[in-house]
């Protein structure tokens, strides 16, 4: 037990003194996940909005698949992207394996269904109320999608925060496609896995505390956004 207390104190020390290794890992994690979520948001909003508004044969099946992909295990996403990017894979010519770009791609694969499915649901709910009025005003389908996306912005922010929470906390995808290379593709989660396996509990704990703090901050932001939105009736 005293080992853990020592490790804990060392961990706090690492955080407070902004240990350079820790900071480097933290910055890379944020870069990868933020960039991935930004891309996934653009894709997710478009897919979700389109699925909600445009009617086409097979729409129900696509929506069901999208929802199911929300539960895609990160390792599976990582494996899939690894097979694509490996030198002998279809996109091998891009030489992207073991780079932060590969990690971003893997996280985009992971997060887009989350944002897409939540966006679709938000737009469906809004459409129930707005459909007749918008058609009465002469809105085209694409205009309706844009209107719904803006009007549902608070729910979309929630979806984005949920997506980010998933990205920053996963280890399976980034481990497989990134290779956990020191100073290049080592993120908080892969570093925690590595340092724990080396018995370096102090550094692992420090990273864990930072990760937990980020997760809590994201959840706090989520609650704040929802409360703010309700106060102004989503204005």
């Amino acid at each position: 037990m005293s080992d853990f207390i020592d490790a804990f104190n060392t961990a706090l020390g690492l955080i407070v003194t902004l240990n350079p290794d820790l900071v480097e890992i933290l910055v890379l994690s944020l870069k990868v996940s933020l960039f991935a979520v930004a891309i996934a948001s653009v894709l997710g909003f478009a897919i979700g909005g389109a699925l909600a508004v445009y009617n086409f044969p097979g729409r129900g099946a696509v929506s069901a698949v999208l929802s199911a992909l929300m539960g895609l295990p990160p390792v599976v996403a990582g494996l899939f992207v690894y097979l694509l990017l490996s030198n002998v894979g279809p996109l091998g010519v891009l030489q992207l394996l073991y780079t932060p770009t590969a990690m971003i791609i893997a996280q985009v694969v992971l997060v887009t269904p989350i944002i897409g499915a939540l966006t679709r649901q938000a737009c469906r709910d809004l459409l129930e109320e707005y459909d007749e009025q918008l058609r009465s005003l002469g809105a085209s389908s694409s205009a309706i999608v844009v209107t719904l996306l803006w009007d549902g912005r608070y729910r979309l922010i929630t979806a984005v925060l949920a997506g980010f929470g998933r990205a920053i906390a996963e280890v399976g995808a980034v481990m497989i496609v990134g290779g956990n290379i020191d100073h290049v593709t080592r993120t908080m989660t892969t570093a925690i896995a590595l340092e724990t396996s080396k018995g370096n509990i102090a550094l692992a704990l420090a990273l864990g505390i930072v990760l937990l703090t980020i997760a809590l901050a994201v959840n706090a932001a989520l609650m704040w956004v929802q409360r703010f939105a309700q106060r102004f009736a989503y204005a």
């Binding site: 933020l34 960039f35 030198n87 020191d182 018995g199 509990i201």
Partner: protein, 281 residues
């Protein structure tokens, strides 16, 4: 209207800022680097942190280590997902070259394996000079044993010892024989947690920080000798292999400088790896 525009602009600014911050992550600069497929035990020992900066200083080439099990390292190299492979499984390495995937195999260094276990030592193997005898005693006592179980060099060495001891350990998998399917560090964690014996390379053991009451119980048997080899991935098989830089790394490892760097790596005054590239390389 103005509120709407202000909000739209704010959102645009935030998105822009995010992209600017994150962009460098996406930009792959024309870095001078090679990818070396190596093993977790080698990485966990800390050897690379010690010797690689010396190589980079001399040549300006950055070395990126992907640490996986030996089996996976060789498979990755076969796919061309690496420029150099540095593992410790000589028969597999020679097959790798014979099959045309590697250019030439060079001896680099050796370290040794040791059998570690709880201070209580239920199988009473402490001090034995014969590794297979120790393994046989563990099997007879049905004492818990943690295996890498991951097709790595360490795992292959362990399997050879079971074979020499005449024991079919696999049949007891899940019983007293625990296959973790993990790297050396994770396996050590499991061994300590389960009071199980395990075979580990000395390097990883020395730098492992969670030893609890475990000790080195068996060492010194020549059968525990662990030879490392380095091979340049064949550029004729995969055009993307950085042959020039990869060869520079291979050459350096077996050169006087590289060998000296390896020898100079110690933990608590103990040397972990013993360079043995043929003289005149």
């Amino acid at each position: 209207m103005t509120t709407l525009w202000r909000r739209r602009n704010a959102l645009g600014l935030i998105l822009g800022a995010l992209l600017i911050v994150a962009a460098p992550a996406g930009i792959e600069a024309e870095d001078n680097f090679i990818i070396v497929q190596s093993t977790t035990s080698t990485q966990n020992s800390g050897l690379f942190d010690h010797i690689l900066p010396k190589f980079t200083e001399k040549t300006g080439i950055e070395v990126r280590i992907v640490a996986v099990g030996t089996g996976q390292a060789l498979k990755n190299a076969r796919n061309g997902d690496g420029d150099v492979v540095l593992v410790h499984a000589k028969p597999d390495e020679e097959k790798f070259v014979a099959d045309g995937w590697g250019v030439k195999r060079h001896d680099v260094m050796y370290n040794d394996f040791v059998i570690v276990g709880p201070a209580a030592d239920p199988a009473e193997i402490a001090g034995l000079k014969d590794a297979d005898e120790a393994f046989k005693k563990i099997a007879d006592a049905k004492a818990p044993f943690a295996s890498r179980g991951d097709d790595s060099g360490t795992h292959k060495a362990e399997l050879k010892l079971w074979e020499d001891a005449g024991v079919d350990a696999k049949s007891a998998s899940g019983d007293w024989y625990l296959e973790t399917g993990s790297g050396m560090g994770a396996t050590l964690n499991t061994a300590v947690g389960k009071h199980a014996y395990t075979l580990t390379d000395r390097g990883t053991w020395l730098s492992f920080a969670n030893k609890s009451d475990f000790k080195v119980l068996v060492e010194g048997d020549p059968k525990l000798f662990n030879q490392y080899g380095v091979i340049l991935v064949n550029p004729k098989k995969h055009a993307n292999v950085k042959a020039k830089e990869g060869q520079a790394f291979v050459d350096w490892l077996i050169s006087k400088d590289g060998q000296a760097a390896i020898a100079s790596y110690t933990i608590d005054g103990q040397q972990l790896f013993f360079p043995n590239a043929p003289r005149g390389s």
